[in-house]
Symmetry: C2
Subunit: 380 residues, 2 copies
């Protein structure tokens, strides 16, 4: 039984076949929306290319087409992206997770939904869907990337991450089934640390109905359009940032050179996250201005000349001004040049429960959430 059989069972006739070109476009777009996190897109892309080259089909469907009672889970990785680059997966981890979940739940999983937009967590769930023969849903749980398991629109709209299974490349598997999502996050993150910094996870089992009510719908299409526009800009020598701004409704907030990186180290302190802050010195239109940007796997807040201009869950994307390639927190270096785009988060990420779960105060910042549109208007 493959993905086409499942779609036939569901009576779904419309779907898009994701080929290698599409994977490259979607992954580039998702890497930009990952706001500096989401890990090395090479890893996710190679995995997905491999699945396509083996003759598997990756079929993307509209979330509205999924039956209300069909079951999907997320698939992806959790941990410090910095470690991922040095500890690549063997490709079996997510099958082990699926097998463990299937046995534990006594139910089979009929679709995959990406947890977030990211260089790894967008193409990898597509690869997994292709390899196990189920469709992938055009949606995710953030429309961006965030560091913790409970930081999803799924959770803030009432879906539990439990049970979640976490595996490593040696076949070690942990399942956590807890009504308290913060306990699940803690146990699954501890498992990632016990595994050496990274774990591969499947979880958030949810029905089609729950996806329609809680997910960031059509976010894969959004990443795809964004990736296409950047490739197009490169080819036609257009300004990639202007193209990105048109699609996302964002703001061009800063441009400059990275003159300082203050990175924290040690598992005790960082709890497995990439943690720190960078300083950028303005160039071009932003000469004589300074930006400081804090990160925890993702870029989280930006201050320009001491004024806060964006807070989570709104998106801070730093792109190479020439190529539109995103600059990530795990590989950022002194001297890199970047253009900063600020993008309003999806409305489903801006509910009261959303702000409590992944707003500025949750991350330890002493500010109440103000939407990026208002913060940028104040600039005058």
């Amino acid at each position: 039984m493959g993905a086409r059989d499942i779609l036939r069972d569901w009576g779904v006739e419309e779907f898009r076949v994701i080929d290698k070109q599409a994977l490259a476009e979607i992954t580039l777009g998702a890497s930009i929306l990952a706001t500096g996190g989401g890990g090395d897109p090479e890893i996710g892309l190679l995995w997905a290319y491999n699945v396509v080259e083996q003759g598997h089909e990756i079929l993307l469907i509209d979330p509205e087409a999924m039956p209300d009672d069909a079951l999907a889970t997320i698939a992806g990785c959790l941990g410090a992206a910095l470690v991922l680059t040095e500890k690549p997966p063997n490709g079996q981890e997510l099958f082990w997770c699926y097998d463990a979940l299937r046995r534990y739940m006594g139910q089979s999983i009929q679709a995959v939904i990406p947890p977030e937009a990211g260089g790894v967590n967008t193409p990898v769930p597509m690869a997994v869907a292709g390899a196990v023969g189920v469709p992938v849903i055009d949606a995710d749980g953030m429309g961006r990337a965030f560091p913790e398991l409970q930081m999803t629109s799924f959770y803030t709209h009432g879906v539990s991450p439990s049970p979640t299974a976490a595996a490593d490349e040696k076949g070690h598997v942990t399942i956590c089934d807890a009504s308290d999502a913060l306990i699940t996050e803690r146990i699954i993150r501890n498992a990632a640390m016990a595994y050496g910094g990274i774990s591969w996870i499947a979880g958030y089992p949810m029905t089609g109905r729950q996806i329609k009510d809680s997910a960031i719908l059509h976010s894969i299409s959004m990443a795809w359009d964004l990736g296409k526009s950047i490739f197009n800009a490169r080819e036609k020598h257009l300004d990639p940032l202007s193209e990105a701004l048109k699609l996302t409704g964002g703001f061009r907030a800063f441009q400059g050179k990275i003159i300082d990186i203050d990175r924290e180290f040690g598992a005790e302190k960082t709890k497995g996250f990439s943690l720190g802050r960078i300083t950028m010195e303005g160039t071009d239109d932003f000469k004589d201005h300074v930006a400081t940007i804090g990160f925890q796997n993702e870029w989280l807040t930006i201050e320009i000349d001491g004024d806060v201009r964006c807070m989570p869950p709104d998106l801070i994307c730093i792109l190479d001004p020439a190529t539109g390639e995103p600059i990530r927190t795990d590989i950022v270096r002194y001297g890199y040049r970047g253009a900063v785009l600020l993008i309003p988060a999806h409305e489903r990420m801006r509910t009261d429960r959303g702000i409590a779960t992944f707003g500025p105060r949750y991350f330890g910042y002493a500010h109440d959430y103000v939407p990026v549109e208002e913060l940028m208007e104040k600039r005058g």
Copy 2:
């Protein structure tokens, strides 16, 4: 289907019915063999009494009677005994663990084996066996208590703790299935800490054959005899320590008053263990001598006048000289009087892999293991 049906299926005609008197005797003996750890016996006893009062039968069988292919698991608790006293179980935790394991493994569990000798982890598995209707095996994995999951004769004779399930009183469940026992220990201990310091666990699934080849056989009978002898000594005003020595082949190594307790605090430092060291000033035959005893949940090493006299896995038991009641690491207080008994560990605990797994160097002491018999002979 109850325990008697299982025994009939197995063709086992000999078993002992464990009543409340037997539970009290076994639990007292197990608390002594727990070497200062194993937690508050009140908690385990009340749980087991309750099961008997509800009309369940607890049937104890010889390990040799168990069929080679029948499946048993341990049941008990893992974490800091200090927390257990303040966070009593609701009685459902281990059923949730069993249910999770059964679903994950797709096999039913036909017997329970206690993980260790302890005030909690001896009566509680007996209670669980009674409540779920399976026999309990007259054996355990240590013949004493130890703090970590892999510190068993099961593990040092080739049995994996995986899969192990851990639950708390809110119904949170974690399953770890890892070929590396140290990863299982780490993940299950982290779960205990995420749960608030204690978790209830079922795991180490093993066959009758594996139990016969790896367990400390007839250790429940040993605890039972020891408990009976102490009750008998109290009733007849005999010296409880002399009675204990006769049964265990141990040494009366010290008697004195506790004059200092150096306890470490904070989860970061203690990792969920009761950790520290006590100093005893000699009395009676041991006047003008000093003993220092280190502990990590259990009493681990003793120095008398600066000379090491016992190392793990050999047993250090500190008893109230008048009543034979054990003094535990989680409740020891300044001014308590104690008699120190040293007991050679079971031969199955003294293999090379055993010494590597729970010998003095594993616990950070700068000594190679020397059996307590040799250390006490040197005393001259």
